[in-house]
């Protein structure tokens, strides 16, 4: 019999409704899986076993009473530790928030609670979501379930590892420059960054406010859609929340790709992309073409400057967003002779080197005399990029590319070279700068058995097109492997 921890959300949902097992059984299976795998992976910063079991019991009581709060009732889900949870420590992977227990819930957390979700715990991340490997966590790195010598990607590496290994059936991550899609790619999962504004950011500890979006990790496209539908929708507490009707997400998933116009981004198909990744993507383009899709190359020259623009805009916003961590009201405080000393001692001690690097970069980019040359110029590139994407979307329904230029790299491989680490985002950041939806779908493995992800980008609010192609890619790829850690008899280390 299948271990319940390996069920998809959809299968677990029907098992619960069919009375085959209880939410408590399911949660215990997931917690058992976590007990075995955590020593190898460190996917979680906080496992809330007690809260998870209580939520599972509550879901079971609802099932018994005939109350159905939707497809996620009783489903164990993990939440990245940069979304605040009332009564549960929330650190954003930073020493400056070690021990911080928020008094309120992020809107997404409230929505999950309201739908009877079992929140398993808070997952590891690069400090304040700044990184592409989860090695920048102040509490130690997360490892890739497919090979524990490799990184899971980042910054939502903990969420990706948990879902891949079965210590959660799905997870929420946040994506500022690729922080959902790149770890999804590196861990063989479906990961989606929705249109900016579709999911509330209220309670998401901000990295770069104009780029941050919350989205789902799941083991298949349908589960990802279910989780996204559960958290999407206007929120009065987020002024950048989309006020219109929540976009359709899943209605076209069975529509197939016949006649769908798909643009292959030329700039993301050659130099700098690993040959095995390129080959897998090309193979998928052929399969899509065979299935009746209309594929063509689309050139987006501004993507060449997207990375540079991103690494000015994101740090600039971060330099202000992270100013509130000053030792005055909460979190770490390191005393000093004066209030100013206290603040600077706290920040010097509490922030890790990558966070400090980005605060300095961002502060510099906004400084008098440099603003126009750096921040102003980056905003102009952002506008140019948006215009190019708008032009492209006038001709094609969706754009495709690899998600990550490489498969999972070795732990420690890029930590001493920030620029090569920044390059991990090269395929993903355009969607953040444009605010458009984008997702990663697993399409195969490299020679080392590491997953390869396929990126689909769609125009703003056209999630339905994204999921339509994602479902087709999933069917065509037919990837059905699980990491060894999830399937073999691994003993607690």
């Amino acid at each position: 019999m299948t271990d319940l921890a390996d069920l998809s959300i959809a299968a677990a949902g029907s098992g619960l409704r069919g009375g085959e097992f209880t939410a408590r059984d399911l949660t215990d299976a997931v917690l058992t899986r976590a007990a075995i795998t955590e020593a190898h992976l460190h996917a979680y910063l906080t496992l809330d076993q007690e809260g998870a079991r209580a939520a599972a019991d509550a879901a079971d009581a609802d099932f018994s009473a005939g109350t159905d709060r939707g497809p996620l009732q009783g489903i164990p889900i993990a939440v990245k530790d940069n979304m605040v949870t009332r009564g549960i420590e929330t650190t954003a992977g930073s020493k400056i928030l070690a021990g911080y227990v928020p008094p309120y819930n992020a809107t997404v957390v409230d929505r999950l609670h309201g739908q009877g979700v079992v929140i398993v715990g808070k997952t590891n991340l690069d400090e304040f979501a700044m990184g592409s490997s989860t090695e920048n966590s102040a509490f130690g790195p997360t490892r890739n379930p497919w090979n524990t010598d490799r990184v899971p990607g980042g910054s939502s590496g903990g969420s990706a590892a948990a879902v891949a290994v079965g210590s959660a059936l799905g997870a929420l991550g946040s994506d500022t420059g690729g922080s959902i899609r790149q770890p999804a790619s590196l861990c063989g999962l479906v990961g989606v960054k929705p249109t900016y504004g579709v999911v509330s950011r209220y309670g998401l500890i901000a990295f770069a406010s104009s780029l941050d979006q919350i989205g789902p990790f799941a083991r298949n496209v349908r589960d990802a859609a279910t989780l996204l539908e559960a958290v999407a929708g206007f929120d009065i507490h987020d002024a950048t929340s989309y006020r219109g009707d929540t976009p359709d997400i899943s209605s076209l998933m069975d529509a197939g790709v016949e006649g769908m116009k798909i643009g292959i981004v030329s700039e993301l198909a050659g130099d700098g992309i690993d040959p095995e990744v390129n080959a897998a993507c090309r193979h998928m383009y052929d399969a899509l073409s065979d299935a009746g899709a209309d594929l063509r190359e689309v050139s987006l020259p501004a993507t060449e400057y997207a990375l540079s623009a991103y690494y000015l805009i994101a740090p600039a916003e971060a330099s202000a967003n992270l100013a509130r961590f000053d030792g005055v009201r909460y979190g770490l405080r390191v005393d000093g002779e004066t209030t100013e000393d206290m603040m600077s001692n706290t920040r010097a001690e509490g922030f890790g080197p990558e966070v400090i690097r980005r605060i300095l970069l961002g502060t510099y980019a906004l400084s008098a005399g440099y603003y126009e040359a750096f921040y102003g110029q980056a905003q102009r590139v952002r506008t140019l990029l948006r215009n190019e994407f708008a032009d492209a979307y006038a001709r094609v329904d969706v754009l495709v590319s690899p998600t990550s230029p490489t498969t999972a790299f070795a732990i420690g491989e890029k930590t001493s070279d920030p620029l090569s680490m920044y390059f991990a985002d090269v395929c993903t950041i355009a969607s953040n700068l444009g605010g458009d939806p984008s997702g990663s779908i697993p399409i195969g493995f490299d020679g080392d058995g590491m997953p390869i992800g396929f990126q689909i980008m769609a125009p703003a609010l056209h999630e339905a097109q994204l999921f339509r192609l994602a479902a087709a890619v999933e069917r065509l790829a037919g990837v059905d492997a699980r990491p060894a850690l999830a399937t073999s008899e691994v003993r607690p280390a």
Partner: protein
């Protein structure tokens, strides 16, 4: 001194009296115990986001419209970055290059000399918390500890920036006073200087008369009354002139007004001043105020102080009475109501701005807490006009009515204050006094008018003040054959 001209601009911060704060639902309540009107947003807890308060936007639009500003359809919020313990986010949400209101003006009048002061901009921002420093001096340098109260953090704050059009300390004071009147008339803030709900900073420079270019300016802060604003500006002008005449240069800096010493001193110089690294607030979308909203705001403006003063002057009121009424909405409303019922404007204005104000002050009550009504004033004015009451008696009646003793007719009867204007009765009294003082008539006939007052006084005494003095005077004159 006369060789120099002062150039002054004033930045005014007005705290709006909205129900809730600028970017969260916390109550605006200045009397609340420390840190009780706070939430994740105004404490800048991790993850919290701002949402603009529509009531505050309405408030600033009213101020902007009242100052004749253009109301900008899509204005932008920016972050102003600086570290300070009472600033929870360590940035203030403010407006920078595209504020909500631009290009307005305010008319002022100092001793009959009128001036138009340009308004550069009116923009929306949020207030900080308050620091209390644990030291004898209350200043941060000697403090062992500091306490923070975030109740004020996030209260809507409107900044009004004037053009450097002000030329004297007196104009500076009048500009501030008139701006306060305008804002108070709009009902969006109580604009109390002593409570900090309005704060004025002055940018001051001097230049030789006739020169176009501005001199180097200083910014003077910490004035907590209109008087201290005027004194601080006057002091700073004199200081700058002294420095320049001694061959020195003015340093661009912020200066602190010391109320006790009556001097300004340097706080921080421009060299040390911070780079605020303004950038557009990514947590907020551009603030859209559509044409219908802008039209509605302009259409709903109340009568503004300048128009009000003009109307009162046209009704015959002197400047003093007009200003008193403009500054006190309750008195002005009562005035309008009584005049609307047909009462004489000057009479009612004199009562309201004299006797009634004195009564309210003496008893420390508000007008609405007294028993007076507009009908009372109309009746009282009529009784004065038709001679039923002397002007002295009318004032007594007014006070009894304010005390709640009844309407003017009842009060006058109860206190036996009705004037004797029965000619026969008065003539008998006049004859009696003249009979007792036989030389008086003769003196009057010889052209000495002084005894008339004596006779009137005697008649008034005999009638306990109820005689109509004009009628008595006329009787005496006619008896002296002067008519």
């Amino acid at each position: 001194m006369s060789d120099w001209e002062a150039v002054i601009g004033i930045e005014t911060h007005v705290e709006l009296q909205t129900k809730s704060k600028m970017f969260c639902g916390c109550a605006v309540n200045f009397g609340a115990p420390p840190n009780t009107t706070v939430c994740p947003v105004c404490l800048a807890l991790p993850g919290a986001l701002p949402v603009p308060n529509e009531e505050a936007i309405e408030g600033i639009l009213r101020i902007g419209a009242a100052l004749g500003c253009d109301l900008v359809e899509d204005s932008l919020f920016h972050r102003k970055n600086y570290f300070y313990p009472d600033l929870p986010k360590n940035y203030q949400i403010s407006q920078y290059d595209v504020p909500l209101c631009i290009d307005g003006h305010l008319e002022i009048d100092v001793d009959g000399e009128e001036a138009t002061i340009g308004i550069t901009r009116v923009h929306m921002e949020e207030d900080t918390g308050k620091s209390v420093h644990g030291s004898d001096t209350g200043r941060i340098h000697d403090a062992d500890f500091s306490l923070l109260d975030f109740n004020r953090a996030g209260v809507p704050l409107v900044e009004v920036v004037s053009e450097p059009d002000i030329r004297s300390p007196e104009q500076a004071r009048e500009y501030a006073a008139e701006l306060q009147r305008v804002v108070r008339t709009l009902g969006v803030s109580d604009v109390r200087l002593e409570e900090g709900s309005v704060r004025f900073d002055a940018n001051v420079s001097v230049r030789p008369v006739g020169r176009e270019e501005f001199g180097t300016r200083t910014e003077v802060k910490n004035m907590n009354s209109l008087r201290s604003l005027q004194h601080a500006v006057a002091y700073e002008i004199q200081r700058q002139v002294r420095v320049l005449e001694a061959g020195g240069v003015i340093i661009q800096e912020t200066r602190h007004w010391d109320e006790v010493q009556g001097t300004t001193s340097a706080m921080r110089s421009k060299e040390e001043s911070e780079d605020y690294r303004y950038f557009q607030e990514p947590d907020l979308v551009p603030l859209h105020v559509d044409a219908a909203w802008r039209r509605r705001v302009v259409a709903s403006l109340p009568e503004l102080p300048a128009a009000h003063r003009r109307r009162l002057a046209a009704a015959g009121l002197d400047r003093q009475a007009a200003e008193t009424l403009v500054d006190a909405a309750d008195l002005a409303d009562m005035f309008d109501a009584a005049v609307g019922l047909g009462a004489d404007a000057t009479t009612v204005a004199n009562w309201l701005t004299g006797d009634v104000v004195a009564y309210l002050r003496r008893n420390d009550v508000a007008l609405e807490a007294t028993a007076i009504a507009a009908e009372h004033l109309r009746d009282l004015a009529a009784m004065l006009a038709n001679g039923t009451l002397s002007s002295t008696a009318a004032k007594d009646v007014l006070n009894y009515v304010l005390d709640g003793e009844g309407n003017p007719a009842e009060v006058a009867a109860a206190h036996d204050l009705t004037q004797i204007s029965d000619e026969g009765a008065l003539e008998a009294e006049v004859d009696r006094v003249l009979g007792d003082n036989p030389d008086v008539l003769e003196k009057i006939q010889q052209g000495d008018m002084k005894p008339i007052g004596f006779v009137v006084g005697q008649v008034m005494r005999a009638t306990r003040g109820k005689a109509d003095p004009q009628m008595v005077t006329d009787l005496i004159r006619s008896k002296a054959g002067m008519s």
